[in-house]
Point group: C2
DNA sequence: CTTGCTGCAAAAGTTTTGCACACGT
DNA sequence: ACGTGTGCAAAACTTTTGCAGCAAG
């Protein structure tokens, strides 16, 4: 397990994000509670895409007991604060990713193995602006998800060739 | 209401799609029932993106009473038969579109007004293949959704400028 | 006739909400 | 102190499933 060059929970990020969230909350007349701090920490610790339930369980294991309801309520605030973004991967389950200070990314998803790879494509932002301009819309954000078969899934399929 | 040049329920499409679905079902040892025919008809009548509940209500109004369960079960078969595709617009609700014989499309979505515009971008298919090749994946499909503020929403906001 | 299909109602899964009490400012 | 937040459990919502009778091949 080698350390990636830049991780989402870089020291440089943690401080300002906490401050940014506090400021956001104050501006809305909301409070920066212990629970919200813990949830923000849990989010910062995630490297890629995550779901609400994941946070709940990870926090339980770390003995940071926060209720499901509070997690959902806080995720909404984090979305509004633009600290996280929703990533549309599954139409029955919400997925999120840390987005603060990062370019939007595309996602490569393997439905078989549930692998998710993030990738950056500068063209997408241009595309977004061009399409919006053509229709007279103001761009807000975008999602680009590619579904495919990962190398792992292909390998798995080889030993599984006998279908039916 | 002028007639669009090409509608999804073109005569040219209805026949083969029905035949294609029948063939698909037979190959799977499944049956082509009256209910499945009605649902396919309802799907063909939809111009753009639709949801399960929409079909249910529209069919009820047309006195084509089919149960929720059957609609969901049939949509799954239509997906497998590649007659429709899932469009990821909302993470809590499934959206579909007729996909048979059509290029994948991108979608411009306005969360405020719920408008959805389809657009074609040839570059997306190339992009999909390039990204997959870079990671050693086999491409299957993709979704490109842009969120933005539609002209209608902008107009609506003007009369709404006084934000508490 | 055999096998799969339908409708219903209940179950399952995620997300939201009402309420009484607790905490941040 | 005031106004929010929290946890809990129940509600809401979409989607799935078990079962008894029904229809397609």
């Amino acid at each position: 397990m080698s350390t990636p060059a830049v991780t989402p929970n870089d020291r440089q990020l943690i401080m300002p994000l906490c401050a940014i969230f506090r400021r956001f909350l104050k501006r809305q007349g909301l409070k920066f509670t212990q629970e919200r701090a813990l949830i923000l920490d849990a989010v910062l610790a995630k490297e890629g895409v995550f779901e609400a339930d994941e946070l709940l369980h990870e926090m339980r294991e770390a003995d940071h007991r926060v209720s499901k309801a509070t997690i959902y309520r806080t995720l909404k605030h984090l979305l509004e604060a633009k600290i996280i973004t929703e990533v549309l991967i599954d139409s029955k389950l919400s997925h999120y990713r840390l987005s603060f200070g990062r370019d939007p990314k595309g996602h490569l998803v393997c439905p078989e193995t549930h692998e998710v790879i993030e990738f950056e494509v500068p063209e997408l932002a241009e595309l977004r602006d061009r399409i919006c301009a053509e229709h007279g819309w103001d761009p807000v954000s975008f999602r680009f998800v590619i579904y495919g078969v990962s190398p792992e899934a292909k390998q798995r399929d080889e030993g599984d060739e006998s279908t039916g």
